[in-house]
């Protein structure tokens, strides 16, 4: 019977030589040490032995069992160890780029309008809208621009019919709001406007404006300066300076063009500011009494100011865009930059 035990041991040793994986080693363990394994089979031989030999054989089988267990454990450790270098070659690279979700963008014009709305909302201005196809009256007469007046030359306009046109300025909304509402009024009106300009890098037959209007008792030119200064500092930066120049608009008096110090050159002069150090960003002024007359406001009691700015122009200045056409081409490579 001893030979039998030796044979089992030598068979095991042969088998271990062919095993390279942990899985096979585990299988081997079951084959020898499992419930129906070879060692247990040996145990089953015991009752058939003469009584005096049973104890000794049992001891030897038990010893063999321990021996086999050691051999297989060693084997398991060995093959497991061999796997480790393999895992190392599959090391997780934490520097690989992340999987970015694809996010779109608001159009830069919308972003600018939102920024403008944000500043003026904090100053108590409501957002209002008006029609783009307008009666001539709202675009001209009510704004103190009489027919055949030389100032009309500054306001070339697309017409639909005799007295119906595409608004050339958002100032039309001033009149529509004042017709409906009594002071105090604080509004801004963003929207599309149209002028028959041949399209080039600086002109477009359609563009956006934001009109502002503030009417109350005791509103002064100093308030106009205060509100515009607040907007300019917030939108363009605290270090930007503001300058007002007298100008002429039929619907405001006194009228002003508002310049800001050139952010490109810091006021020293460059091609963007035509070497003047200043760039024009909006027109403004105190509401002309004739406009108040047109909407039946008491021009003695109320004063007010209005301003209008070109959204494209402001956006171009802020981001250094030099061709207005980019806004309407909608090239994704352009839109994705803002």
């Amino acid at each position: 019977m001893t030979e039998k035990l030796e044979e089992v041991k030598s068979n095991l040793q042969d088998e271990t030589k062919t095993i390279t994986t942990r899985k096979d080693a585990e299988q081997l363990k079951i084959k020898y040490l499992g419930r129906k394994g070879i060692v247990n089979d040996l145990m089953k031989l015991i009752p058939a032995l003469p009584t005096e030999k049973r104890a000794a054989f049992g001891q030897r089988v038990n010893f063999l069992k321990i021996e086999i267990a050691d051999i297989i454990d060693e084997l398991i450790t060995k093959v497991s160890a061999e796997v480790i270098p393999k895992i190392k070659t599959e090391l997780f690279d934490i520097t690989l780029p992340g999987k970015r979700p694809f996010i779109g963008k608001k159009h830069p014009i919308t972003q600018t309008i939102d920024d403008i709305k944000e500043v003026f909302a904090r100053l108590g201005f409501d957002v209002v809208y008006g029609p783009e196809v307008e009666l001539e009256y709202y675009n001209f007469e009510a704004l103190n621009i009489p027919t055949d007046h030389p100032s009309r030359t500054d306001f070339d306009t697309f017409y639909i019919r005799d007295d119906v046109l595409l608004r050339s300025q958002t100032s039309t909304v001033q009149i529509r709001i004042m017709e409906k509402q009594k002071p105090p009024i604080r509004i801004i009106a963003p929207g599309r406007v149209y002028r028959p300009d041949t399209v080039d890098a600086r002109h477009s037959f359609m563009f956006h404006q934001v009109e502002g209007l503030f009417v109350d008792e005791g509103v002064s030119f100093a308030d106009l300066k205060g509100v515009l200064n607040q907007f300019i500092k917030t939108y363009f930066g605290q270090n930007i300076r503001m300058r007002l120049r007298p100008s002429f608009f039929p619907f405001t008096e006194p009228s002003a063009e508002v310049d800001i110090s050139c952010s490109i050159c810091g006021g020293r002069g460059c091609s963007v500011c035509s070497y003047s150090g200043w760039v024009e960003i909006l027109g403004a002024g105190m509401v002309d009494p004739n406009v108040f007359k047109a909407v039946h406001y008491d021009e003695e009691k109320y004063t007010g100011f209005a301003f209008g700015m070109g959204v494209e122009r402001i956006t171009m200045l802020k981001y250094g865009i030099c061709d207005i056409r980019l806004f309407y081409e909608n090239d994704i490579r352009f839109l994705s930059q803002f």
Partner: protein
């Protein structure tokens, strides 16, 4: 208006460099667009706003500088002396249209020699961009640039019958202008005629037949006022503009005319050695009424927000040559000089004071009254939609509202009336107001395709213009173009509505718009019987390389229906029970009919009916499809057991419906 730096210095004493001068002018509202050195002089290009014709002459600009900087004004010599022979011997002037020509003056200079003008004059004219012609023409130009008042010299001997008649043109008359342009004249145009024919278009340009030439010996110098609108209309109708029409359109100084005429003949006499005829023709239809205005100091303060002292205001107005009538109180009574036609109201004076006082010396107020402002619903809905779509990878685009008349642009989902045309388009490409945003989105997709971006997801919120009564109906739309399959974009739209708090059920009704949407894959979307929008896969005719879907939704409807009021619903205490079903139905049976059939059973505790798959193929008879769906049951007060028998019995009443498997 171009001026010469040296020339300006003749009328006002300044010690400013050209750049400093430009800054001063800019601060009073005369923007200097450009400064160019010209030999030993500088040319300043000044933008004069249309309300300030008095600054279309160098003297006017000198006046502004004198007011802003201090310093005296110097006026040129106008003494013409006396003569023996009276002008009436040479010319007979009559004005038939006194309203269109309120003032007409003429002077005659005889025995002149037409030669080139003196070098100093030529140099100044060249500096301001005028081409020297001869001494007579150059002097009329010189005096015009100096004073802002246009003048015209006729060759006296070529005026038929020694007559000048200011009248309307007659039918059939024509004229060849000095610039060579031949124009037919119409009876609503004002002309200067001699005994036979028109010799000048009033205020616009003289005729070639009576112009001053090398052989001219005697001249008639016209210096007049023509009605602004008349000049503007005639100039536009004939397509002829000139330095003269530019100034007459804006208005000249009615009281300055005679002085300007004297200045010019004096120069002619000095430069050509001619002999000024005695007297002058001076026809005026009415006296100029000097405007009187009262400026209240309290009003000045109220409008400007700064207390300008009375003597400061008076000083400013005096320097601008207003005639101050009183010298006390909180009022300033004054007379407006005749060259300031733009000033007729108190507010105009306030602007004058503010301009010279300096806009930048007015304080910048840093506080205003409190007034609350809230976003309106349009803003809230637009913001929500933009945020939602951007998060899903959509780019917002902005495209033109004015489009061409190509067939694609004829898409009109919202109205059966034609689109609205522009009466005066610049180009055919921009001649009609659009009736849909989708063609513009398609063009944007194509543009990006040609610039290397194949896949695109874009949207626009803008108006379409539908023919209406007086003004069109401007409907705001939300349009989307996405390179996704039908169900993906449909899901986005459904989810979008959900985000806006719009929970009403949409009906998807088959819709046909060939050329835009693919047949059988397009729908009109309806909610509570109202069309919300249109949806579908892009037509193959559009030749996209990708599968794209389009939708145009009625934003006005979304704004109206959106509801952002939220209320907490208690979380269910007991778990839901799910039951999956697969049913085989005819191809024609739509999901919405199956869904309706199930919900119509009004089975208790049935909360949701969810589609999850459609299968055709092995084991499914041809012409049929297998629809897998999931039912969710839930009670608030207990855990449910089974609840499907009623549903199943209802389902089997549908056309060719066979329960296939249940779980």
């Amino acid at each position: 208006m171009k001026i010469s730096y040296n020339w300006l210095k003749e009328y006002v004493y300044i010690c400013l460099s050209p750049q400093e001068l430009a800054d001063k002018l800019t601060n009073v509202g005369l923007v200097v667009a450009d400064i160019q050195p010209v030999e030993d002089d500088f040319c300043l290009d000044i933008e004069v706003t249309s309300n300030r014709p008095d600054c279309l002459g160098i003297i006017g600009i000198a006046r502004e500088i004198a007011a802003a900087e201090g310093g005296n004004l110097y006026f040129p010599e106008t003494n013409v002396g006396s003569a023996h022979v009276d002008i009436s011997e040479f010319i007979n002037v009559s004005v038939e249209e006194p309203i269109l020509c309120p003032r007409y003056t003429a002077r005659v200079v005889r025995h002149i020699t037409v030669t080139p003008s003196p070098e100093w004059m030529q140099k100044r004219l060249k500096c301001v961009g005028l081409r020297p012609v001869n001494n007579i023409v150059d002097i009329t130009n010189y005096v015009m640039v100096e004073t802002g008042q246009p003048l015209h010299a006729f060759d006296l001997d070529r005026l038929a019958e020694q007559k000048i008649i200011v009248r309307k043109a007659r039918i059939g008359e024509e004229i060849v202008a000095i610039n060579g342009a031949r124009r037919a004249l119409f009876p609503d145009m004002l002309v200067i005629a001699d005994g036979r024919r028109p010799v000048a278009i009033a205020g616009v340009m003289g005729g070639v037949e009576t112009e001053v030439s090398g052989s001219t010996r005697n001249i008639l110098l016209e210096c007049a006022q023509f009605e602004q609108r008349q000049v503007r209309r005639t100039s536009r109708a004939l397509g002829i503009t000139s330095d003269s029409s530019y100034r007459f359109e804006r208005g000249i100084d009615p009281e300055g005319i005679d002085r300007v005429s004297q200045r010019a003949v004096r120069l002619i006499k000095d430069c050509t050695g001619g002999e000024i005829a005695g007297g002058t023709v001076n026809i005026r239809s009415e006296r100029h009424e000097t405007k009187k205005i009262v400026l209240r100091m309290e009003r000045l303060h109220k409008v400007l927000g700064v207390e300008v002292k009375r003597d400061v205001a008076i000083d400013i107005l005096k320097k601008l040559q207003f005639n101050i009538l009183n010298d006390v109180d909180n009022f300033i009574d004054l007379e407006v000089p005749s060259f300031r036609g733009d000033i007729s109201r108190e507010i105009d004076l306030i602007e004058e004071v503010a301009r010279i006082y300096g806009y930048n010396n007015i304080p910048t107020k840093t506080s205003i009254n409190v007034r609350g402002s809230t976003k309106n619903k349009v803003e809230v809905v637009e913001d929500t939609i933009r945020q939602f779509l951007i998060g899903l990878g959509f780019y917002e685009v902005k495209t033109f509202s004015i489009v061409d008349t190509a067939p694609l642009q004829a898409v009109n989902l919202w109205s059966d009336k034609e689109g609205i045309d522009i009466a005066n388009p610049l180009r055919q490409e921009e001649s009609r107001l659009r009736t849909s945003l989708l063609p513009s989105l398609i063009n944007t997709k194509r543009y990006n395709m040609h610039h290397g971006t194949e896949q695109i997801k874009i949207f626009e919120i803008a108006k379409v213009y539908l023919a209406g009564a007086k003004l069109p109906h401007e409907k705001t739309c939300l349009s989307i173009l996405a390179d996704t399959d039908y169900l993906t974009l449909k899901g986005i739209v459904e989810s979008l509505l959900f985000n806006l708090g719009i929970f009403s059920k949409c009906e998807w009704i088959i819709f046909c718009e060939p050329g835009l949407l693919r047949n059988e894959r397009a729908a009109r979307v309806q909610m509570d019987g109202i069309t919300v929008g249109y949806f579908g896969e892009a037509s193959q005719e559009l030749r996209f390389k990708t599968v794209s879907c389009l939708t145009e939704l009625d934003m006005d409807f979304l704004v109206e229906k959106s509801n952002f009021v939220k209320k907490y619903h208690e979380l269910p205490q007991y778990p839901p029970v799910f039951r999956d079903l697969a049913i085989i139905v005819d191809e024609e049976v739509t999901w919405s009919s199956i869904e309706r059939c199930i919900t119509d059973t009004k089975t208790a505790f049935l909360k949701e009916v969810n589609f999850f798959d459609v299968y055709r193929g092995k084991q499914i008879p041809s012409g049929k499809k297998s629809i897998a769906l999931n039912l969710l049951f839930q009670a608030i007060d207990r855990t449910l057991k089974m609840k499907r028998s009623i549903v199943l019995s209802k389902l089997s009443s549908m056309p060719s419906t066979i329960p296939l498997a249940q779980n």
